[in-house]
């Protein structure tokens, strides 16, 4: 299976561990992710609110580059976008361009100025979708070397991968991550805030609102007995993990909840090394998983 890979800016910076663990896990299951050459920032939500046509065109450049690198025999090419914001922007671009001929024409004019075309033959996918629906839970389960028995995991989907476009899971009660957690031998925590927004960039722009949103999520996961939270969005991971000291300071809480990427959890179960999974980049490293303690091999040293 071949997939083209759109990392987006976060996976080269604050979400570096997401890229490291994602590539390691996909390699471990024999799936090749080929990075799109010379991709540009998707523009996130900010650019869309400044100039929609420009934003769509720059996002479409990435899809055009993906299509350009595919051979005719490959037909529809899957572009894997791990960042929730990138995934949403690229998916929105794919859909809007397909549905609005006037936009399609303007995007074609912009890209045509540099000899690029975007035909719409690429398909935007989230790695969670690929893991569950292409690779499959059975194959992932077979690759598990250290069952994560006894570990209680709160899956946090965030708001962007299932809304507004619920392409591979329910918009309000997604379960794909929970099913994956189960396949690894861990226990998914049932909680109602799995798709509640973390506030995105509010932690930087209006911290009093952003911190409060993250505090609600972290405390609810803790109250439900979660040993850790897992996520597939670099901004959610950043907010939930990196602001815990600030939340503790402002609200006199006592939070110390590990928030890791789903791919780091899968990698632990696969027996991959800490460095391969970027675990040394976490501010709050997860405790040794119970199965590893019993088996004597540390999943996280």
């Amino acid at each position: 299976m071949k997939y083209l890979y759109f990392p987006g800016c976060s996976l080269k910076g604050t979400g570096k561990a997401y890229e490291e663990s994602l590539l390691a896990v996909f390699r471990a299951v024999g799936v090749d992710l080929q990075e799109i050459d010379d991709w540009n920032c998707c523009g996130a939500t900010a650019y869309m609110s400044v100039d929609e046509v420009q934003a769509f065109t720059l996002a479409a450049r990435n899809l055009g580059l993906a299509e350009e690198s595919a051979t005719a025999e490959e037909g529809v090419i899957d572009v894997v976008a791990p960042c929730a914001a990138c995934y949403l922007v690229l998916l929105k671009t794919q859909r809007y361009v397909a549905q609005h001929p006037d936009l399609k024409e303007r995007v074609a004019t912009g890209l045509g100025a540099v000899g690029l075309t975007y035909a719409g033959t690429s398909r935007v996918r989230h790695p969670l979708d690929v893991l569950v629906n292409d690779i499959g839970l059975q194959r992932i389960g077979q690759r598990v070397k250290q069952k994560l028995s006894g570990l209680k995991v709160a899956s946090y989907y965030g708001c962007q991968i299932v809304r507004p476009f619920a392409t591979f899971d329910s918009a309000y009660n997604p379960t794909s991550m929970d099913r994956l957690v189960t396949a690894l031998g861990a226990t998914p925590v049932i909680w109602p805030l799995k798709t509640r927004c973390c506030g995105g960039t509010l932690t930087g722009t209006i911290p009093e609102a952003g911190l409060r949103l993250n505090r609600i999520l972290l405390n609810e996961a803790k109250r439900r007995g979660a040993d850790m939270m897992v996520t597939v969005c670099p901004l959610c991971q950043f907010n939930l993990e990196c602001y815990q000291n600030e939340i503790n300071r402002q609200f006199q809480d006592n939070l110390r909840m590990p928030v890791i990427y789903l791919t780091q959890l899968i990698g632990q179960a696969f027996g991959l090394s800490d460095v391969e999974l970027g675990l040394q980049r976490l501010f709050i490293p997860p405790a040794r998983v119970p199965a590893a303690q019993e088996g004597g091999k540390a999943a996280h040293a």
Partner: protein, 44 residues
């Protein structure tokens, strides 16, 4: 928040060297083309 920045750098999650794309001129050309087209549309 200084602590946050320090911790990001310590864990290799923030670099002082920004990522950049090779064909920046290509982006400029795309944006200029779109802007020129828009200008044409609004000019009576």
């Amino acid at each position: 928040m200084t602590g946050l920045g320090f911790n990001l750098m310590r864990t290799g999650r923030m670099s002082l060297r920004p990522e950049t794309i090779r064909r920046r001129a290509e982006l400029r050309k795309i944006l200029d083309t779109l802007a020129a087209e828009e200008k044409q549309e609004v000019t009576p």
